[in-house]
Symmetry: C2
Subunit: 273 residues, 2 copies
Amino acid sequence: MITPDKLSLNTATVREKWNLANCIEGCARHGIGGIAPWRDKLQEMGTDKAARAISDAGLRVSGLCRGGWFTAAGAITQDVIDDNRRAVDEAATINAECLVMVVGGLADNSRDLPHAHELVEEGLARTLEYARTVGVKIAIEPLHPMYAADRACVNTTRQALDICDRLGDGIGCAIDVYHVWWDHELRTQLKRAGRDRLMAFHICDWLDPTSNLLTDRGMMGDGVIDIPLLRSYAEEEGFNGLYEVEIFSAENWWIRDPDEVLETIIERGRTVC
Amino acid sequence: MITPDKLSLNTATVREKWNLANCIEGCARHGIGGIAPWRDKLQEMGTDKAARAISDAGLRVSGLCRGGWFTAAGAITQDVIDDNRRAVDEAATINAECLVMVVGGLADNSRDLPHAHELVEEGLARTLEYARTVGVKIAIEPLHPMYAADRACVNTTRQALDICDRLGDGIGCAIDVYHVWWDHELRTQLKRAGRDRLMAFHICDWLDPTSNLLTDRGMMGDGVIDIPLLRSYAEEEGFNGLYEVEIFSAENWWIRDPDEVLETIIERGRTVC
């Protein structure tokens, strides 16, 4: 069971109907313990104003979504570095527990995956260097392998931790059950990560069947993921952060009343998580 | 470059328009070196008759698709074991270089992935025991992680080889670029496999975007996979088998004239593989 105070609302879950101010107010009203803004919602509200509202509402910030996207141009550009520095600054301003990195897939018109891996590591290293100076933690989110081409070429917890091992302090993983539930070595890799590198834990569900690669994620309990088991792997390592709910669902949850969505999240947290 | 004599036609690629007799005749006419029947096509033609036709046409059999499906009932049933024994016998009859195993996903209404892994290993062990007595090689096909729930809960080459290590001689991997192209440790795992355990190599392409999880595979060259690079990993280990073309494509290649499909495969083999 996850009680509401241990839940966090990722704004993507209600992104079609609520702006960030609505999300902050809604979390407070429903007793949800934290929030995880996407940067578009944050910038729309204004980072300083959002920081005050989040603080006034007594919410934790389980993460800022998202930095990364290092690969599109086929080289690390100053624009990308600058944008990631801004993301670090925003994460610091809202007191986010980490900046979540979606690292980017293949460059446009490229098939060179090893080169994409190199770009990602360079981009992460340069962002981390800056993040350390302002005390922001960098969390690599391994994305499901079906996103390797178009979103992120870091696709397993092992791969993310290999990068973390090379880059040193201040960088870890954001684990989303949707992306990693299938991985036979998830438990051993979460053990390898350890508490300090388990920086975020996202929940939703894998629907069977899944009708769309991007926008058909399920509400917890509606799919095949054994969320209590996966949580236990993290908690064995001492993870005691918030459980952040991030559901991309164009045909279902995105078109419902957000208050109903939050009520459902809270109920599922109590019953199936 | 892959010359036609080094190609094999998986019957799934033209499954909507050609039966196995058509496929055998078509491969011979186009100078394609091998064939890989699915069991439904094989049984429809009759295994003995098919074996003679394949042999008369001078074709190699790069694999028989497919054994496995160990998990659906939540236990290893006698029916499943018997069906896998029949698959082994069919593979022997047509002189297949391996029997490809799609191991099965979660049991119906189950979220218990560790249990599915146990069932798979038990089913593979029992099938292997019989296969050794008739000289048929068993090739585990790691499927893309997006099929973990509904088709196969063995999803990486590492995971497949871990099983092979435990089960011993006579079992290896069927590598399909579609399923494994994203894997950052593919090269090291193919090295670990070694020549004897690299039993089959399937090619097609990953389309970006991909519109359907099952039936939107691409023709070689139409997607993002660096096929020559992935081939080189296998060939570094001494792989010298056929390159088997298996394309699930409901909206494109399945509705075209199979002769056009084979001509395209041959042209792409020469130009982009």
